[in-house]
Symmetry: C2
Subunit: 205 residues, 2 copies
């Protein structure tokens, strides 16, 4: 089965749209998704991308996401806490979850808690609320999330993102082909199916 | 008839996609387009948006536009000259053309000359090639484009763009609602028709 590598950051607002949509799109297309949290802060800094200092982009972003969410039938109001996950605890827990095979469930629940339930990522009440229905003990899970092994895995995933030329979240990689932004998700899925217009044009040429 | 204000820069590569698509989309939707060249360089600088220093975004951009162009059935290869129009001569001529009612024809021909015929914007051979089929004398037209009146008009249009919160090219404004990027063009047209999902959700609420 063709695979889309889904690179995202717990705290990226546009990633919310993809987190809520990618499972359904992938299932309909017969494509598998690899859920890969990475540290977008490191990568943006290296590339001089600094959304928060781009004065007009931030208010535009909230409105744009509100419109895109409406188009996709998703709930959205600008989250009360942004930026969020200051110590990357939510990202580390997501990295552990992905390594242990429960990354999708943890991610979808976390973004829902953040955007719909208006909780802060990276704080214990939020993490506990997400972990309990998944049958994960908060304290032992957090201990594993903070371990040197998980921290190394998160750094390695960030390095993998960097190696694909990724500079923002969410990003999608299929056979080395990079797509950036929730608005490119359908293109990434089409690419995985070999049905993108550029693949067809190239095949004909 | 509902109107979309189309703000763009001669030299913005993503604007090429919109320039080639907006006429057909607007006609099909029964929406009118106001063609408004503006100085995106000024606005980006003020907002700390600096595409060329964002190391990974530029190669991504070329590939992304190539894919988007294929999706829309448009020719595209990264232009040999970019950035282009160093003295803004093409932008000033476009501003004059818009004021005199031949902005669309001048713009579409100019972007085709740049991307398809691989000529540089702002250079006399390119401007002459575009003006002649439009029945415009190059020398008197350029003189008017360089006049203080046209320069003031271009500055005023840039100020108008700024007043809408615009920070990049292409942008679309409908009833004060701002859309940024060629990938938001269909949304802007839908907004002009009152058929955007967020308008419908708001009307229901």
């Amino acid at each position: 089965m063709k695979q889309v590598d889904f690179f995202y950051f717990f705290g990226s607002v546009y990633a919310y749209l993809s987190v809520m949509r990618i499972g359904g799109l992938a299932a309909a297309a017969g494509v598998s998704i690899r859920w890969r949290p990475f540290n977008v802060r490191t990568v943006m800094k290296e590339n001089n991308v600094a959304l928060r200092t781009e004065a007009l982009k931030v208010p535009y972003m909230w409105r744009d996401i509100e419109r895109r969410a409406a188009t996709h039938g998703l709930q959205f109001k600008p989250p009360p806490v942004w930026p969020t996950d200051p110590e990357l605890l939510h990202n580390l827990t997501g990295t552990l979850a992905a390594a242990e095979g429960w990354g999708e469930a943890f991610t979808v629940s976390s973004f829902r808690a953040w955007i719909v339930d208006r909780m802060a990522l990276g704080e214990m009440p939020t993490i506990e609320k997400v972990l309990q229905p998944l049958g994960k003990d908060p304290h032992s899970t957090i201990a594993r999330a903070k371990s040197a092994a998980t921290q190394k895995l998160y750094a390695d995933e960030t390095e993998a993102a960097r190696s694909f030329g990724i500079f923002g979240s969410p990003s999608f990689v299929v056979d080395g082909e990079l797509f950036w932004g929730d608005d490119r998700l359908e293109e990434a899925i089409a690419w995985a199916k070999g049905e993108h217009a550029l693949q067809r044009a190239t095949a004909k040429a």
